[in-house]
Amino acid sequence: MGVADDASPTGELELSGRALEAAMIGEALGDAGLSLSDVDGVAHANSSVALAEYLGIHPRYTDSTHTGGSSYEIHVEHAAAAINAGLCDVVVGVYASTPRSDRTRRRVPMGGRPMMGPNPAVEWELPFGLRMPMGPYAMAATRHMYQYGTTSEQLAQIAVSTRQWAAMNPKARYRDPITVEDVLASPLQSTPLHLLDCCLVTDGAGAFVMTSAERARDLAKPPVFVLGAGTCHDHAMISEMPDLTVTPGAVSGANAFAMAGVKPQDVDVLMGYDSFTITALLHLEDLGFCAKGEGGPFVEDGKTGPGGSLPMNTNGGGLSYTHPGMYGMFLLVEAVRQLRGECGARQVDGAEVAVAHGSGMVLSCMSTIVLGTEATL
C-alpha cells in the first residue's frame, strides 16, 4: 500500500479540488514506487468515472461507493476483493475536501453527489431543528449516559487523550494540551456535547494505492497487508437507528477480526473515526475493546493516549488533526504509517496490527479494516 495525506495547522491548504486529488495520487504512487500508468482501478466517493477522465486513465475496476466518512474503508475492502479476484492489479483511491478555505476564499466547492432519491430526513427530522451532524450523535450520547451512567468527564477524556497525540503531529490543527475542565468549559452545542467534544472543520486530503501482496513485496516501501475487512449499516436517519447505544460496528468489527484471525487485544493501534467523542467511545465497545456500556470507565485513565495500553487516533484524530467532512481516508493513512514505523515522535513501538474503523453519516455505516505487517501473515 502507498499512502499520502495533507492538512495544515492553519486548517487550510493551497490546492483544492481535482488539483489536490491529483497531488495526493501522485504522492501515494510515489510512496508505493508505482506510476499512473500502472493504475487500472479507481475509487472515489463522488465519481470514480469523472476522476479517471481527469487523470486520463481507463480503469477496468471502478468504485463510487458513497457511505459518508466510512467510504474509504469500504473502498479498501472492495479493492482487496477485486485484486484477489483478478479484476485489476493496482487501485488508487483519493479524497480531497477544503471546506475551510472554500469559505474564506469564497470558492465554489467541487460539486457533491446529488442526493440519490428522496431524503426522508427533510420531512421527518430537519423540521424539528435537528443540527446536522451533531444532533444525532448527541442523542446517542444522552441515551448512553442514561443506560450506562457515562459522564461528560469520561467523554471529555477522549478529547484530552487525542489532543496529546496531536501535540506530536506537526500538521495537526490544534496541538496545545487541553484538560477535561477545558472540554467541559467549552460552549455547549447539542447537549451533552461541548464544542471540544466535536471534530474540526478543516481542509484535508489523502490517497491510497493498493496492489497484490505479491507485487507489493517488490515496491518502494515495506508492504502493509489487508488482513480482514467488514462492513455493516442499519439506518440513514438517527430516528431509525435500532439501538442508539449499539452501532453497526458491532457487526463490521466482528467480521473483520474473524477474517483477520486477530482479537482486539492483538491490536497495537486503533484508528477509530472520531467525529465526536461519543463516536470513538461507541467504537471501543462495539469493536470489543471493552464490554458494552463500559466505554466511559475504559477511557477514564487515559489509556488511549500516548503511553497508554490502547493507542487510539495517533495522528490527533478528527478532534485535533483534521476533519474535512469524510475523515475515513486519514484513518487508513495513519494506520499504514504506524505499521511502517514512519510516525516519528508519535510512533507506537513495534506496531504490527492496526485497525482503521470508519463511520459514515450518523453512526449509520461502519467499515472495519484490519491491517498488518509482513510478520502478522
Binding site: 421527518w124 424539528f128 435537528l130 451533531m134 442514561y146 461528560s152 447537549t191
Partner: protein, 149 residues
Amino acid sequence: MSEAGERPRRLEPPVTDTSEPFWEATRRRRLLMQWCVDCGHAVFFPRDVCPRCLGSRLEWRPSAGTGSVHTYTVEHNPQNPNLTAPYTIALIDLDDGVRMMSNVVGCPPDEVRVGMRVAVTWEELSDGRNLPLFEPAGPTPGASSPSVV
C-alpha cells in the same frame, strides 16, 4: 405559530404522495399512523410497503398520541438562525410501537428526561398543516437522566 406574512421559523416539511394522508389529518390536529394489514405492525415513517413483510396493504389509523422520551438533545447553537435556542429535540417512543423525532415543548429544556411521559400537541405551519410536537403528560415513572455540565 406563524402569522400571515411572517417568514416561517421552521424548515417546513414537504408532502409526498405517500405522506399526504398524514399531513392532511394534521389540519384537523389528528395524528395518524400506518398499520400493516398483513402483519399488524405499526409503520413510521410513512411508506408504500411494510418494512417487515413488504406487504403493500397499509392502513391509516389514529395514533394514541402518547409516548415517552427515548432520548433527546438540547440545541444551543441551531443551524437554522430563525430558531430560538435552547430548544429540545427528542426521539419519542409512541405507545403505538413506533419511534418519531419531534420537539418537547411546554417545559424548560433542563426538565426534559429520558423516560418522561409526553402527549402530542400542535404547532401551526404556514399552509394550515400542523406539526406534531410533544409536551409533558402526567407523572414519569421513576426515570432519571444524567446531569449535563
